[in-house]
C-alpha cells in the first residue's frame, strides 16, 4: 500500500512555514507541502477534527492564504474592475465573496474582499485569496495599478497570520477574548478590534458551513492568540484541525474549492456561483464573456450526488448516464463524516441538469449515484 507522505523530510524546494509552525509540530501534526507551505493536514484524526468543528469548534491555521491590502482613493474602482461582484457599494464593515476572471470568463480565483476602517479612521480594502493563486493574483493585479495612481497595494501575507475559528461554540467562547464582541457581527461582516492592545481583524466568515469567524493578526501575535483561544475553549472541546478536515467540512457544505470546482477553464456561471456575478450595469474583466455564457446557458452544471454503498468516489472519476456514456466528472468526493456516507460534487453536461440519477465509474466499477441538492449539510438553525 502507499502510505501518505512522511513528515519532516528535507524537501528540495524551499517551503514557507506559517508563524504557527512550531505549535503544529509540538501538537504532533502531520505536515504536508501545500501551495508552497508546510501545512498540518491532520493532528490526530480527520474525523475527530471534523466532528469537533460540527459540535464545538475547530481552529484552523490558514496563514498560507494570501492577504492583499489596498489603500487610497480608487481602491473600490480598481477592485470593481477586477471582480465579478461590485465592491464600490460595500459599506465599511462589509465582506463580499467574488471571483476574479480573465477576459474569457475563466476563474483566476475566488476571493473575499473586506472593507475596513482603522481606529485612526483610515479606510482600506483587504483581499483574501487562495494560497495556490496568491502570486498569480498579485501578478494579475500589478499591471493595473498604474491606471489607479492613488492606490497602494501591499501584500500583508508574510506580516500577518490568519486563524479560522469555526463551530457552534466559537462565537460564545471568543466573545470573551476581544475588546469587541464578535457576536455583534452579522454573517459576512468584519471589524478591527484588539486583544491586549494588539490589532485583530475579525470577520464572521468561514469555509466549513459552521458559524464562526476568521482572524487576521500580526505574525508575532499568532501563537498567543491561538493559544488563548485553545485555552478558552478547552472545556468546550475546541480542537486544532488540519487541511484534511477543512476539506471534508467544505465538501459537506457544498463549497467550491479552487483547483477542484474552480479553475481558469471554467466560468463562474457554469461553476454554479452566478450569485457572485453582478452583470447588470457594470463592466469588469470578463464581463462580456460571462454575459455570453448567461445568454447561451452554461455548457455544464455542478451537481451534488450521493453514491450508493460505502465506496467513496474521488476527484477525477467519470460520471456516466444510464447507458454508460461519459457525461461528466467528479470534482470532489469522499466520505462525509457527519452524514456517514460518501458525497460527491461533479460537473455534468447541462442537458442533464434535471437528471435525478447517474452512474459513477470508480476505478473500473460503476455505482449508482443519486442527485441531491447542495449543500449536503446545513447547520441547524438556532431556536
Amino acid at each position: 500500500m502507499d502510505t501518505p507522505a512522511p513528515s519532516g523530510l528535507a524537501m528540495n524546494t524551499s517551503l514557507s512555514t506559517t508563524p504557527l509552525d512550531a505549535w503544529h509540530r509540538s501538537a504532533g501534526a502531520k505536515m504536508v507541502p501545500f501551495a508552497g507551505y508546510e501545512m498540518p493536514i491532520q493532528y490526530s484524526s480527520i474525523v475527530t477534527e471534523h466532528q469537533a468543528c460540527r459540535t464545538s469548534a475547530a481552529l484552523f491555521d490558514v496563514s498560507h492564504m494570501g492577504r492583499i491590502r489596498f489603500d487610497g482613493d480608487g481602491s473600490e474602482q480598481l477592485l470593481d474592475h477586477l471582480l465579478t461582484r461590485r465592491v464600490s457599494d460595500l459599506p465599511v464593515g462589509g465582506v463580499r465573496y467574488g471571483l476574479m476572471c480573465n477576459a474569457e470568463g475563466g476563474v483566476l480565483d475566488d476571493v473575499l474582499v473586506s472593507h475596513l476602517k482603522t481606529p485612526s479612521d483610515r479606510r482600506f480594502h483587504l483581499l483574501v485569496v487562495n494560497a495556490s493563486n496568491h502570486q498569480k493574483i498579485v501578478d494579475w493585479i500589478t499591471p493595473h495599478l498604474p491606471d489607479f495612481p492613488t492606490v497602494t497595494m501591499s501584500d500583508r501575507t508574510e506580516l500577518t497570520a490568519m486563524i479560522a475559528v469555526q463551530g457552534p461554540k466559537a462565537i460564545d467562547v471568543c466573545k470573551k477574548l476581544f475588546a469587541f464582541d464578535p457576536s455583534r457581527l452579522k454573517y459576512y461582516q468584519a471589524t478591527i478590534t484588539d486583544q491586549f492592545k494588539k490589532p485583530v481583524i475579525v470577520s464572521r466568515t468561514g469555509y466549513t458551513g459552521e458559524d464562526g469567524f476568521e482572524l487576521i493578526v500580526r505574525a508575532e501575535e499568532a501563537n498567543r492568540i491561538w493559544e488563548n483561544i485553545m485555552l478558552a475553549g478547552r472545556d468546550e472541546g475546541f480542537a486544532a484541525a488540519g487541511l484534511g478536515a477543512r476539506d471534508t467540512l467544505r465538501m459537506e457544505a457544498g463549497m467550491p474549492l479552487y483547483g477542484h470546482e474552480l479553475n481558469e477553464s471554467i466560468d463562474p456561471i457554469s461553476a454554479g456561483v452566478s450569485f457572485a456575478c453582478n452583470l447588470k450595469d457594470r463592466s469588469f474583466i470578463g464581463d462580456d464573456a460571462l454575459r455570453a455564457v448567461k445568454a447561451a446557458g452554461p455548457k455544464q452544471v455542478r451537481v451534488g450526488m450521493i453514491p450508493e454503498g460505502k465506496r467513496p468516489a474521488r476527484e477525477g472519476c467519470d460520471v456516466l448516464d444510464a447507458d454508460g456514456k461519459k457525461i461528466g466528472f467528479v470534482t470532489s468526493g469522499g466520505p462525509s463524516p457527519t452524514l456517514g456516507h460518501p458525497i460527491v460534487m461533479a460537473y455534468v453536461d447541462a442537458e442533464y441538469a434535471d437528471a435525478k440519477q447517474f452512474q459513477i465509474d470508480i476505478r473500473g466499477k460503476t455505482v449508482v449515484a443519486n442527485v441531491t441538492p447542495l449543500p449536503f449539510y446545513k447547520r441547524p438553525t438556532k431556536a
Binding site: M1, D2, T3, P4, P6, I41, Q42, S45, I46, V47, G244, D247, T248, K310, R311, P312, R314, G334, P335, P337, R363
Partner: protein, 133 residues
C-alpha cells in the same frame, strides 16, 4: 493463538505476510502493518478480491481507503486466493486494535515463493518505518 508481529515477513509497501503449511500446501496469510494503519488513519472502505483470484507478488489485489485517500494493497506473494476476510470491510475500526489477528485480509495458496527472500523481517521493516516516519 495470537500472531506475533516479530515473526512475520513484510513488504516495502507495508503488507505483512505469514507463511504456514496447511495440508501439505504453503498458505500465506496477508494483512496490513500496524504502522501503515496508523499512517492511513480514519479508514472507511476496503475492496477485496474474490476467492479463486490469482495474485502476483508486487501487484495490486485490493484497495483500502481512508477519509483522505485510496491506497492500493499489493500482494507480497504469488498464488491463488483461497480465503477472504469478508467481515473486515464492515469492521475497519478493529484494524487499529488488532492488525495481526482480526486484521488478516486474504489467504493465498502459494504457487511461487521465489520472492519470499525479498521480503523484510520485522527488524528490517521497523528500520524502514523509522526512516520514513
Amino acid at each position: 493463538m495470537a500472531r506475533d508481529p516479530e515473526k512475520l515477513l513484510y513488504a516495502e509497501s507495508h503488507e505483512w505476510c505469514d507463511v504456514a503449511e496447511e495440508g501439505g500446501e504453503k498458505v500465506a496469510t496477508i494483512g496490513i502493518s500496524a504502522f501503515a494503519i496508523e499512517q492511513l488513519n480514519d479508514l472507511v472502505y476496503m475492496d477485496l478480491p474474490e476467492v479463486g483470484k490469482q495474485v502476483t507478488a508486487g501487484e495490486e489485489f485490493g484497495e483500502v481507503e481512508s477519509v483522505k485517500a485510496v491506497s492500493p494493497l499489493y500482494s507480497p506473494i504469488t498464488g491463488e486466493v483461497v480465503e477472504v476476510h469478508s467481515e473486515l470491510p464492515d469492521n475497519l475500526d478493529q484494524l487499529n486494535d488488532d492488525p495481526y489477528d482480526f486484521g488478516w485480509v486474504i489467504k493465498v495458496k502459494v504457487s511461487d515463493d521465489s520472492n519470499l527472500s525479498s521480503l523484510m523481517d520485522a527488524a528490517a521493516y521497523k528500520k524502514q518505518c523509522a526512516e520514513s516516519g
